[in-house]
Symmetry: C2
Subunit: 146 residues, 2 copies
DNA sequence: ATAAACACTTGTATTATGCAAGCGAACGCA
DNA sequence: TGCGTTCGCTTGCATAATACAAGTGTTTAT
């Protein structure tokens, strides 16, 4: 077992409450990959640039499931693979991700790099971008009959 | 020394970059207190409901200073006290805090409690709220000649 | 002069993380 | 049908971060 302390609740403050669930070094990056990067499998999540360890990934996937932010189904094309996808609560974190991204774009512009493809997707503004992102996920869910 | 690893950079992704700086269990709570709770002193920050340890608070204040999110001046009324306040970059995290708060309000409504005073301040919407918050900080800064 | 307050620091125990290796079930191919 | 590979993890161990209690030096109030 990787960790015992299952999102201990520190206070009833809305900010603290959200951080109890997603305020660690990895959870939001996993959610980013599932939400914005079109990733849905364990192996894809492992391969992200930040280099998450397999045990930590496994632990975070389970915790996020326990918290109701994501769900799993067996891959229809294979009995050994699985498909991870966000629930409504998980998808709604797009606003947090966009706020973080905008903050970095403003205050850490020298440290970040946004690939051309992503820049193009975001060109029409945050509202249009998140709408498109959610539409893509809806198409994916339809395809896999989630 | 509390920690060696000074915000190691994991990737150039804007989300990851922001999390490298404020993606731990405590930084955003300190920023919440400085931004929304009108706190400016070490002791006040220590007394928050979440119960941060003094060594961790000390460490986070230094790291946030190193990252350019906050600054310190000696307290004009006392040689032993200090005043902590956010820089422009620190204040701009209000959008992240509001996104987190709104997420909790939507998806964790049973776990959170918003005091009446705060609820009243937020009643006119997020834009008006953040404007008022920043105006208050500006008044404080003027008073202390920051 | 003394005691309390303040902003920390130090020491130590506990917990979380990172890394490498391993494991069983499923799969791909011969 | 056997045989190496892939997948989604788990395990063991070293290192790092955090929590908790106690202490330190300076300032301040009485």
């Amino acid at each position: 077992m990787v960790s015992k302390n299952e999102h201990a609740i520190r206070s009833s403050c809305p900010v603290a409450c959200a951080l109890d669930i997603i305020g660690d070094h990895w959870s939001l990056l996993v959610i980013r990959d599932l939400l914005l990067m079109g990733k849905h499998e364990y192996k894809e999540l492992l391969e992200s640039d930040e280099g998450i360890s397999s045990n930590i990934l496994s632990d975070r996937l389970r915790k996020l499931q326990d918290s109701g932010l994501l769900d799993v189904i067996p891959h229809p094309e294979s009995n050994k693979r699985k498909l991870y996808f966000l629930t409504a609560a998980g998808k709604d974190l797009i606003h947090v991700l966009l706020a973080l991204g905008r903050w970095s774009a403003t205050h850490r512009s020298d440290a970040i790099f946004i690939p051309e493809e992503m820049r193009a997707r975001m060109a029409k503004g945050a509202a249009a971008f998140s709408k498109e992102v959610l539409r893509e996920l809806a198409r994916w869910e339809e395809k896999y009959e989630v």
